[in-house]
């Protein structure tokens, strides 16, 4: 009995262990049923328009300005010496053509006493001094050198000429700063004589010439005597390095320039359609005109032209636009340039800018004075409010996309719900859509019901990426991106002209909810 019982107990134990062991077949589990949902806040911020603009272009502080909360784009530049008188007054050619050759014959002198004889020659040479369109009254020289020399040479075996003592050259048209006519004394045989003409005035005569006269003094010495003979007198001179300081003149004929021209233009805007009316920039011109004359421009035509449609947009608010830059006596003067239309359609596909007009600088009889330091300095500032009236503005672009073969999130995600909650205080209504394409054929879209961000009306955009959409996205090789903007808000029949303000902002909250129901372990391990 005892042995039987012992065996029985042992048998039960062995059977229990065997059953337990045999019941433990290994399971081939390939999938995990999860039904999980992960909710992730992606982004939550209120972004000001100024920040958006700055993020788009970090140089906004150089072109963006805020005034009374309104945002303006501006461009400012200053150029000193847009026109400089020194450019065209400073360079008068040197005049070396001052060369008078005279042959003369003198008989012998048989005198016993010393004697001086002076020979006066009026206007022995004349230099023309005239400019077309101007009647020069007076020119003050910044620089210049007048030099001359005289040499008498015996001819035909004549004895040397010892009679010449002194030559004086003078001109009533070359006057010193003190009003004294130029008077140069050359003692013969002492070499070339030069005179610095700085601050001399040239006062041309009525014949528009500068004339030079001379006084030549001869001296007879009985101890030397003079046999007479044939001689040649060379009087050479030059006027070099002449620079004008100030020119006083009377205009003798109109100084004007007529232009009829056009320039091809390209705004570089591709993929945009619709219309966007922008205000024409305000131009503030600050200038200083130290010329002694004014300039008037008269623009009679300023038009954008679309060569494809024939559309012409006149930029002038009136028949013509006339601007005059008067002399300012050294002061800066500011002026707002107007007479433009208030707004233009920036997206009308213009290809050309046509402009006609003329520039009138002076009329006959106008007296002018030009200094070589005369300039026109300009500070210009162009300012345009970020303001527009947009209807059906659409930007379209096709982007190549490729998520590659290694993306297999569809193996463990059933659905991803992207939600963008917005509260848009920027006065724009924006529509977004992305169309996924495979070889040019649209196979899916980003938003099933389109995506519109309304102005001043909180709302949400939802992008539900289902398993089907996920597969389509992954096999797409292009995305057609469409971005639409309008200022025609709900309930309005016409687009509204809006002004962007610094306080405009958009509150964006983006979130994502992923959903999984079953994960295939073979796909992720």
């Amino acid at each position: 009995m005892r042995k039987v019982f012992t065996n029985s107990i042992l048998t039960v134990l062995v059977v229990l262990v065997a059953i337990a062991t045999a019941s433990c077949k290994k399971k081939e589990v390939k999938k995990i049923a999860v039904d999980n949902q992960f909710a992730v806040a992606l982004f939550n911020d209120t972004i000001s328009l100024k920040k958006i603009l700055h993020d788009m272009d970090s140089t906004t502080n150089t072109w963006l300005r805020v005034r009374n909360d309104s945002i303006f784009a501006f461009y400012a530049d200053s150029v000193n010496g847009v026109i400089k008188a020194s450019d065209f007054l400073g360079a008068i050619p040197n005049m070396d053509g001052f060369n008078t050759v005279t042959e003369f014959t003198l008989g012998g002198i048989d005198e016993t006493e010393e004697k001086d004889t002076t020979l006066f020659t009026e206007r022995f040479t004349e230099i023309p001094f005239e400019y077309d369109g101007f009647d020069i009254e007076e020119v003050v020289l910044r620089s210049g050198t007048f030099s001359f020399d005289v040499e008498v040479t015996p001819l035909n075996g004549s004895t040397p000429f010892h009679l010449l003592k002194q030559i004086v050259i003078f001109s009533e048209q070359l006057v010193s700063q003190d009003g004294v006519p130029m008077n140069i004394v050359l003692d013969y045989g002492r070499g070339r004589k030069s005179v610095d003409l700085a601050d001399y005035k040239i006062i041309p005569d009525t014949a528009k010439t500068v004339a030079f006269s001379s006084r030549i003094t001869f001296h007879y010495d009985p101890t030397i005597g003079f046999d007479g003979g044939d001689y040649q007198c060379d009087l050479t001179g030059s006027l070099t390095n002449v620079g004008f300081k100030t020119v006083y003149a009377v205009v003798t004929k109109e100084l004007d320039s007529v232009f009829n021209d056009h320039a091809d233009i390209d705004f570089g805007i591709n993929g945009l359609s619709g219309s966007a009316y922008l205000p024409v920039p305000k131009i503030e011109l600050t200038y200083r005109n130290t010329f002694g004359l004014s300039a008037t421009s008269d623009v009679t035509r300023l038009e954008f032209y679309n060569s494809r449609t024939g559309l012409i947009t006149d930029l002038l608010a009136a028949d013509h636009w006339e601007e005059t830059i008067e002399p300012t006596n050294g002061r800066f003067v500011s002026r707002r340039i107007g007479n433009f239309v208030e707004e233009i359609d920036a997206l009308a596909g213009y290809t050309r800018l046509d402009f006609d007009g003329n520039v009138m600088m002076a009329m006959p009889g106008d007296k002018i004075s030009i200094s070589d330091t005369s300039t026109v300095d300009v500070i210009s500032e162009i300012e345009m409010p970020l303001s527009f009236r947009i209807s059906d503005l659409h930007y379209t672009d096709t982007i190549k996309i490729s998520f590659g073969d290694d993306v297999n999130i569809q193996n463990y995600l059933d659905e991803i719900d992207f939600t963008i909650d917005f509260d848009n205080k920027i006065p724009l209504q924006i529509t977004l859509q992305g169309l996924f394409m495979k070889n040019g054929t649209v196979i899916d879209s980003l938003f099933d019901n389109g995506g519109t961000i309304l102005y001043n009306e909180p709302g949400s955009l939802e992008c539900i990426v289902t398993d089907r959409k996920m597969k389509n996205v992954l096999r797409a090789n292009q995305m057609l991106l469409r971005l639409g903007v309008t200022t025609q808000f709900d309930g309005q029949s016409q687009p509204e002209m809006v002004i962007l303000k610094e306080s405009n902002d958009i509150a964006l909250r983006m979130k994502m909810l992923t959903k999984s129901s079953e994960i295939n372990l073979d796909d992720i391990l």
Binding site: T6, V29, A33, A41, L42, F43, D55, L513
Partner: protein, 462 residues
């Protein structure tokens, strides 16, 4: 030698990092008729020898316990008839708050006992490791089901965890006295030396996901306490890797640092040759940990993630800075990672109360019923064990037990021992079915049963 000490200490700390709570090492091995350690849990149960000696490997036990993650709750069949891991079923099977993993280990380094007439005295030096990890249903639910299942302020995720890891040594002097032929009483005072303790209490942390924005915030209620025999100025958790830099046992270890006291006591009564009963209390005591390093975090509405992309630029570039993201969360929840020097604190032993009765037909057939109450956290959990044990040919000892417990799960235990003169060898499993699952998949093996334990040893007796 220095390296050996270092290795041992590291090993103990690593062991203590496993998590535990319940003191669930089985009782069945004490039922084997010729077991020298019959008084292991109840010092009032008579030791049937005049003397015993066990050194090093006389009594080594490992037990693991998993209260909630059960194999049958992980798998299900889908609509296609395929076997799948069912996340929802698994999470729903968990207890709302009390889910535990624990790991216990004990090893008698020296156990010497001798009888003087009616008095049996034994001295025992034992190393013990008790680690415990408790988690709430939502703690795993957050990761398995996702925070999308916890949307709304009124539907928070109770992200609660608890860690209690302790390693200590126990020097006990047991005294057992036969009052008469029927009644034996015993008591075993214990001097405890704490080696290391690490406690994390996180009972009231809630993670909320806003239903509108999906922003995640948390109410954090976290407490950490740590103490060890190692003297260290380490005040930052991340510096733990430098704990053993310039480590010297004589300078860096103070075994007198964390002292505790405990006691086991009980009595057994033999009605006649067939019937008997016993009752006892095991592990009543505490350890006082000194120079604790502590961290208390109690914050409400801490932002964990209110946006993945911090700014418009990151969003535009779809660029995430994961490092700073994680760092921000840690900073927000945790603050700086410095610990502070806290006061002393006590941890109690996992006390167990047992009452048992048996009927012995003959040495080959004894049936025992044991009722137990385990201390789990602040509650007492009941268990009933029915066991058969018998001795054959005066050499072979067998035991078979079945334990019913809502807390530990039902378990079939098997034990075998050989007594050959002074030589005793034994091996006991508290749940033999778990061992039978060794050929199954890892997941199945780890989760088929709530509990698994193994005890074995070689001890000499006369």
């Amino acid at each position: 030698m220095k390296k050996l000490y270092r290795f041992l200490i590291v090993a103990v700390l690593i062991c203590s990092s496993f998590v535990t709570k319940a003191q669930n090492d089985g009782v069945v091995f004490t039922l084997m008729p010729q077991m020298p350690y019959s008084n292991y849990l109840n010092p009032g149960i008579k030791v049937p020898y005049r003397g015993i000696v066990g050194v090093g490997f006389s009594n080594i036990s490992f037990s693991i316990y998993n209260s909630s993650i059960k194999y049958t709750n992980i798998y299900s069949t889908n609509s296609k008839g395929e076997e799948v891991i069912d996340g929802m079923k698994f999470i729903n099977s968990l207890d709302e708050n009390d889910n535990y993993f624990n790991f216990n280990m004990s090893m008698d380094l020296l156990n010497v006992g001798f009888r003087v007439n009616k008095l049996f005295v034994n001295l025992d030096w034992r190393m013990r490791v008790s680690t415990d990890f408790q988690f709430s249903r939502d703690f795993l639910g957050f990761f398995v089901l996702g925070n999308g299942h916890y949307l709304g302020d009124d539907n928070p995720c109770n992200f609660n965890i608890g860690i209690d890891a302790m390693a200590f040594q126990e020097i006990a002097a047991g005294f057992q006295y036969d009052i008469n032929d029927h009644l034996t009483i015993g008591i075993r005072p214990k001097l405890l030396g704490g080696i290391a303790n690490f406690t994390v209490t996180n009972d009231n942390t809630k993670i909320r996901t806003d239903a509108d924005s999906y922003a995640i915030s948390a109410d954090v209620d976290l407490s950490i306490r740590a103490a060890s025999v190692i003297k260290s100025d380490m005040m930052r958790i991340k510096d733990v890797t430098h704990l053993f830099d310039d480590f010297e046992v004589s300078r860096s270890v103070d075994v007198k640092e964390n002292i505790g006291f405990g006691v086991d006591f009980g009595a057994s009564y033999k009605f006649n040759d067939h019937w008997g009963a016993a009752a006892g209390v095991y592990d009543l005591g505490y350890i006082k940990w000194r120079d604790a390093k502590v961290k208390e975090v109690k914050k409400n509405n801490v932002s964990v993630n209110d946006e993945l992309f911090d700014n418009y630029q990151e969003l535009k570039n779809l660029k995430l800075d994961y490092e700073s993201m994680l760092s921000d969360v840690v900073d927000a929840v945790w603050g700086n990672d410095s610990l502070t020097v806290g006061g002393d604190y006590k941890t109690s032993l996992k006390t167990r109360i047992m009452a048992q009765g048996y009927y012995e037909l003959n040495p080959m057939v004894r049936f025992t019923a044991i009722a137990q109450l385990y201390k789990v956290r602040e509650n007492m959990k009941p268990a009933i064990t029915l066991a058969y044990s018998g001795s054959f040919w005066n050499h072979l000892n067998l035991s078979l037990s079945y334990t019913l417990s809502k807390y530990t799960g039902n378990a079939l235990g098997v034990g075998i021992g050989v007594h050959a003169g002074p030589f005793n060898i034994y091996a006991v499993s508290d749940n033999v079915l778990a061992i039978a699952k060794m050929s199954a998949s890892t997941v199945e093996f780890a989760t088929a049963y709530k509990t698994a334990g193994m005890r074995f040893g070689i001890v000499f007796s006369w």
